[in-house]
């Protein structure tokens, strides 16, 4: 009785009718209007039995408790730090959650973290008004050393990490780069110049092709090819991100 009006896994836009009939149930990114299910954002249609949802193609990070993310210190307040986290809202790291060390009242907080520092941190609380609290207490949570920061679409993070971290491990192994992927889409990298650019290109490739099957094989082939080119000094990516001056159109 129910009928899909667009093919599963196709791109739909807000207002587009995706299914008819009462058999299907709207979940994320889909709403019911009469006997129709309608998309409420730009995304890929994903039908799972009777459940219809959208995988978003764009949008900011929605903070979730327990997520390990990367954030940038943008302000030092009286009792803690304000941190930018690629979301609609900034987050707060309070003194008591920042370190197990005792911090005396009135101490210079910039000794711990200062403007422009990037932190691997975890979200401990999100209130109904979207106030986000962070903590530095936990394994792997720390201030990051110098490196490159890139931002990827937050909804692509699971694909970038891969099953049990397989995708990101593959990139690390192939390029020798250190890579940390925050759940909020902020990624930190550090490596040799040529290798680091290959790693960035691989991440971008995952971001744009994650919805096409055979992703792992394609990324592997890409990394092999780039490694080979880099070895013989031909990698266009490692040599230059964009090339020199091109002729006028």
């Amino acid at each position: 009785m129910g009928e899909l009006l667009v093919q599963d896994k196709s791109i739909v836009v807000p207002g587009e009718e995706v299914a008819a009939g009462m058999d299907f149930l709207p979940t994320e990114g889909v709403y019911r209007d009469g006997d129709k299910l309608v998309a409420s954002r730009l995304g890929l249609l994903a039908v799972d039995g009777r459940l219809v949802k959208l995988i978003p193609l764009a949008g900011k990070y929605l903070p979730k408790r327990g997520d390990v993310i990367i954030g940038k210190v943008i302000d030092v307040a009286i009792s803690g730090w304000r941190v930018e986290i690629n979301s609609a809202y900034t987050a707060m790291l309070s003194m008591k959650d920042a370190t197990s060390e005792f911090i005396a009242r009135g101490a210079d907080l910039t000794r711990y973290f200062t403007f422009g520092d990037y932190l691997v941190t975890s979200i401990v609380n999100v209130t109904s008004q979207n106030l986000v609290d962070l903590s530095m207490k936990g394994p792997g949570l720390r201030k990051l050393p110098e490196g490159r920061i890139i931002t990827v679409a937050p909804n692509k993070v699971p694909r970038i990490i891969g099953k049990q971290g397989s995708m990101v491990s593959m990139i690390k192994d192939a390029t020798g780069c250190k890579i940390i992927v925050g759940q909020n889409g902020i990624v930190w990298l550090q490596g040799e110049p040529g290798q680091e650019l290959i790693a960035v290109a691989a991440l971008r490739k995952i971001e744009s092709e994650s919805h096409i099957s055979g992703l792992t094989d394609r990324i592997k082939a890409f990394l092999d090819e780039e490694a080979r080119k880099l070895q013989i000094g031909q990698s266009p990516i490692a040599h230059s991100a964009s090339g020199g001056i091109v002729p006028q159109r």
């Binding site: 791109i11 836009v13 807000p14 207002g15 587009e16 009718e17 990114g29 709403y31 209007d33 309608v38 409420s40 954002r41 730009l42 978003p56 193609l57 764009a58 949008g59 900011k60 929605l62 609609a88 809202y89 900034t90 008004q129 979207n130 490739k205 744009s208 092709e209 919805h211 096409i212 055979g214 394609r218 082939a221 890409f222 090819e225």
Partner: protein
């Protein structure tokens, strides 16, 4: 006497040629270009993000803030002085109201979604082009929306009821002219922008609005296509790429 043939040869219900593209401004969270005839609008969306000054924040829901602006060299005739005018302020306000009904901003209390509309080239219908571009940009930014918004001007030139008046028609002098910018929410057919200046009788107004609704349905398809192409193009290119390897 009367206006029985349009200056550019279009049929009464025919739109000028339209080009729409999503994702044209890299630094924005969402963006679009919408060209109709010789009117070109860019729109960029930033947010939801922290709202300043703080006293403007709404703890119940996110705020939509629109700024409509004509570039100094965009108009036929004199240079447009930068810095906004009463006209651009009013258009910013009605554009906000045209877009707001489709946006779900409940999840973003205190935050703001900024929409910046810029016109590098104008030939009538600028607020409508701006709304069309902004609607694509909002969807491109991944915001939760019940629907898109599509907009066009309708009106009466002499005795002819027509859609998408160009500048020459807006300034037609041999008879009455009514210029009516409208915006429709395509699914419901509800009107979220309605302004008018000029003279028109009630019966003609009804017919003009009906014509506008049909035209907006066509515009919606173009907006939809622009969004799909933005993501589909990378899919196609890359998948053939993948097959080669």
């Amino acid at each position: 006497m009367g206006y029985d043939k349009r200056v550019d040869g279009r049929k009464p219900d025919e739109l000028r040629p339209i080009v729409a593209k999503a994702g044209v401004i890299k630094r924005a969270d969402g963006s679009a270009m919408f060209q109709i005839g010789n009117t070109v609008a860019y729109a960029a969306v930033y947010g939801p993000r922290d709202m300043f000054p703080r006293f403007l924040q709404n703890p119940q829901r996110g705020t939509l803030r629109v700024r409509y602006n004509m570039m100094p060299f965009s108009g036929a005739g004199d240079r447009v002085k930068p810095g906004g005018s009463r006209r651009s302020k009013e258009i910013s306000m009605v554009t906000e109201k045209a877009l707001l009904p489709v946006l779900n901003l409940e999840d973003f209390p205190n935050a703001v979604v900024d929409v910046f509309i810029e016109l590098p080239q104008t030939d009538a219908g600028t607020r409508c082009a701006g709304i069309c571009a902004a609607s694509i940009a909002l969807a491109d930014a991944g915001l939760s929306m019940k629907d898109m918004v599509s907009s066009v001007s309708v009106g009466k030139v002499g005795s002819m009821i027509a859609v998408d008046l160009n500048y020459a028609e807006e300034s037609y002098e041999e008879g009455d002219v009514a210029d009516i910018p409208v915006a429709f929410i395509p699914r419901t057919g509800h009107v979220s922008l309605l302004q008018m200046d000029g003279l028109i009788d009630k019966e003609s107004l009804k017919r003009a609005l009906e014509m506008g609704r049909k035209a907006c349905a066509r515009i919606y398809e173009i907006q939809k296509k622009a969004l799909k192409e933005r993501f589909a193009s990378s899919v196609e290119v890359n998948s053939t790429d993948g097959n080669n390897k």
